[in-house]
């Protein structure tokens, strides 16, 4: 099973990352950024679907507010009507989470690729020799330079700058896509989730090699930009909850 994983995902990601590094003047940090862009391009159909769903949710807000006014006191009925509305519009309010789920295998592969490619111990360097393709571009890039800007890509960022960037950009991206909760009870859950994920990833940035955190940060920034242009604005970042407005 592990060998299949390396054959299909692990080793290709590792070799592409090293090849990109060679093409980008030996800058491993730039290679990670380039790989992030490639991953985002590959996952574009999924992202587009999610963004369209998000846009549809925004467009539905007047109808949602109408329902809010109409069934404000009957929670169960409101829920039913809301679900009906979502179903009719073909929208899944939790759809924004799927692209993130899809990215988990890529994160794992990237994490392994960064650690393997930087080969911090002699054992890792020897292991790397067995995983490289026979491409000249790959072999000429070894060993890699682990330094990029102020970061050692194999180590966590000691200055916490990357943690703030990852947490901040994730919050903005989530805030742009996450539809405000209708139910006051759900609103606290929604608010908690909006904070939990950025805090979690900010915390993980302090633990993980900064190369992986760089992927998260760049991926978030690309997400914000595409979200801005596809949905035509800042989305829910500037949007007040219908519950708040009815109050």
């Amino acid at each position: 099973m592990i060998e299949v994983w390396h054959l299909i995902i692990g080793n290709p990601v590792l070799n592409v990352l090293i090849a990109l590094s060679h093409l980008l003047s030996g800058e491993f940090g730039l290679a990670i950024i380039a790989l992030t862009i490639i991953v985002r391009l590959i996952s574009w159909p999924l992202t587009k679907r999610q963004l369209n769903s998000s846009k549809a949710l925004q467009d539905m807000q007047p109808k949602i507010q109408e329902l809010q006014k109409k069934y404000g006191k009957n929670k169960q009925k409101l829920q039913q009507e809301m679900m009906k509305l979502y179903k009719e519009a073909g929208v899944n309010p939790l759809g924004c989470l799927w692209p993130m789920l899809i990215q988990f295998p890529i994160w794992i592969a990237l994490y392994q690729a960064i650690m393997r490619a930087l080969a911090t111990t002699p054992e890792n360097l020897l292991d790397l020799a067995h995983r490289l393709y026979s491409w000249d571009i790959v072999n000429q890039a070894i060993p890699l330079n682990s330094h990029f800007l102020w970061l050692d890509l194999g180590q966590p960022d000691p200055y916490m700058i990357l943690a703030i960037i990852v947490g901040g950009t994730m919050w903005v991206q989530q805030k742009m896509t996450q539809a405000p909760a209708i139910d006051p009870g759900q609103q606290s859950t929604s608010r908690m989730m909006l904070l939990m994920m950025p805090l979690m990833f900010g915390f993980l940035t302090l633990m993980f090699p900064s190369g992986l955190a760089l992927y998260w940060a760049v991926s978030n920034v690309i997400g914000i930009i595409t979200q801005y242009f596809v949905t035509g604005g800042w989305g829910y970042l500037k949007f007040r909850s219908p519950f708040q407005s009815t109050q």
Binding site: G10, G26, Q79, L94, L97, M100, L101, F104, W107, I108, Y111, Q112, I114, M115, R116, T120, T121, P122, E123, N124, L125, L126, D127, A129, H130, S134, D136, N139, Q140, I142, P143, N145, S146, D152, Q155, D183, G185, Q186, T189, M193, M196, M197, M200, F201, L204, M207, F208, P209
Partner: protein, 399 residues
């Protein structure tokens, strides 16, 4: 409806944590692969539990063992404390008279006196000529010593992961000189220097061979530059340096020249890196490759004389004993080639002996016996005549 949704969100939030705890990143910690040497009937080797061990090759008994102090290492994820671990050893011990020198991954060079160690006295016993030298980190990620130490008449030369080469006084461990940082990009100097005349030659991962004045460490004008980094320590025969590169070629570089004399293979690159240093004997270069092949190459021209496919990566340098060439592959198979007979293009070994343990460290051969440290941390003594493991002994001493 609400509860499953919250559950779903919690699962989503916990997935990154699962990622952290379940995925090791596929990396291996520094465990070490110390080599073996035999001197005056005693086998000296490092062990993966951070000890230097001396074993009598006649009686097969332990003469002495010295456990190098534990090093503190950051503990695992989400644990704030530090743990102690044995230091890793990659180099082969170097013996000069009654002193055994060893470099460690924790950045120390130790001079151990055989008598003091056999009496188990506190280290270091200065009256016995023992000393310890701590390599500075020097703003690098590490001060680890991975390469073999190099001994001259009155000094010991150390390549460090901080990118510098150091010359130490052999008797007292005082610093004679330190070189400038030779590899600014990677800093890691994991290859050993080599001496010829009054010059020290060092290869680097950024693809340079530098020449340093032996007395002062001053960089000489000549250096060689290659597009790819060098994997192996340089070996010198007459005025030519032989070494392996990350671009899967073996290079021959004439000292003073800007261009390689030849690269091997002459057409397509080999199947993998020439990780181990080659050896040169009577105008022939013998090189093991991580692609599992052993090559015999004409030193003057770079032309292939013969090759043998072992099928497993060759990590250790070959060894010569009289007219026998001894090669081990990573899976622990020992191949013996008789060089007194003319070998064909696809050479066949005289003997094939398995020790049934992986081999990554350098080994030695003497008087018909081959001394190999297996990755299982045992010393295997292979008798070439009988083609069998004559005896074996564990290096991990059980308390």
């Amino acid at each position: 409806m609400k509860q499953p949704k919250i559950l779903f969100l919690v699962v989503i939030a916990l997935l990154p944590l699962t990622l952290v705890s379940c995925v090791s990143g596929g990396t291996q910690s520094a465990r070490g692969w110390p080599g073996t040497i035999v001197h005056d009937g005693i086998i000296y080797a490092g062990s993966t539990d951070g000890s230097v061990v001396a074993i009598n090759s006649s009686t097969e008994n332990l003469e002495w063992s010295y456990s190098i102090a534990l090093v503190t290492a950051p503990s695992s994820f989400l644990s704030c404390g530090q743990t102690s671990a044995p230091t890793a050893i990659y180099g082969t011990p170097v013996v000069d008279r009654d002193i055994v020198y060893i470099g460690t991954y924790s950045g120390q060079v130790l001079a151990l006196n055989m008598l003091a160690r056999s009496q188990n006295l506190t280290f270091p016993q200065q009256r016995y000529g023992e000393w310890k030298w701590d390599c500075p980190i020097d703003n690098a990620e590490s001060n680890a010593i991975v390469a073999d130490l190099l001994l001259s008449e009155d000094a010991i030369y150390v390549s460090s992961s901080n990118g510098r080469v150091y010359s130490l006084d052999k008797e007292f461990g005082d610093l004679n000189w330190e070189s400038k940082i030779l590899d600014e990009k990677h800093r890691k100097l994991w290859t050993s220097p080599v001496i010829q005349g009054n010059t020290l030659y060092v290869s680097t991962y950024d693809g340079h061979i530098y020449a340093l004045l032996l007395e002062t460490g001053e960089l000489l004008d000549w250096f060689f530059e290659s597009e790819a980094g060098f994997t192996s320590s340089p070996v010198i025969d007459e005025d030519t340096i032989f070494l392996g590169s990350f671009d899967r070629y073996l290079y021959a570089v004439k000292i003073g020249s800007d261009l390689p004399m030849w690269k091997f293979p002459q057409e397509e690159p080999a199947g993998n890196w020439f990780w181990a240093s080659p050896i040169v004997n009577e105008g022939i270069v013998y090189a093991g490759c991580l692609d599992g092949r052993v090559y015999a190459i004409e030193a003057k021209t770079g032309g292939k004389l013969w090759e043998f496919d072992a099928g497993n990566a060759i990590v250790s340098s070959p060894v010569l004993m009289d007219n026998l060439l001894i090669v081990t592959d990573e899976s622990g198979t020992v191949y013996v080639f008789d060089l007194s007979v003319e070998l064909e293009d696809e050479a066949a070994p005289l003997k094939v002996i398995s020790i049934e343990a992986d081999v990554r460290s350098s080994f030695c051969a003497q008087e018909g016996l081959v001394y190999i440290r297996g990755e299982d941390n045992w010393i295997y003594v292979v008798d070439i005549d009988s083609g069998e493991v004559s005896w074996k002994v564990p290096l991990t001493i059980e308390e």
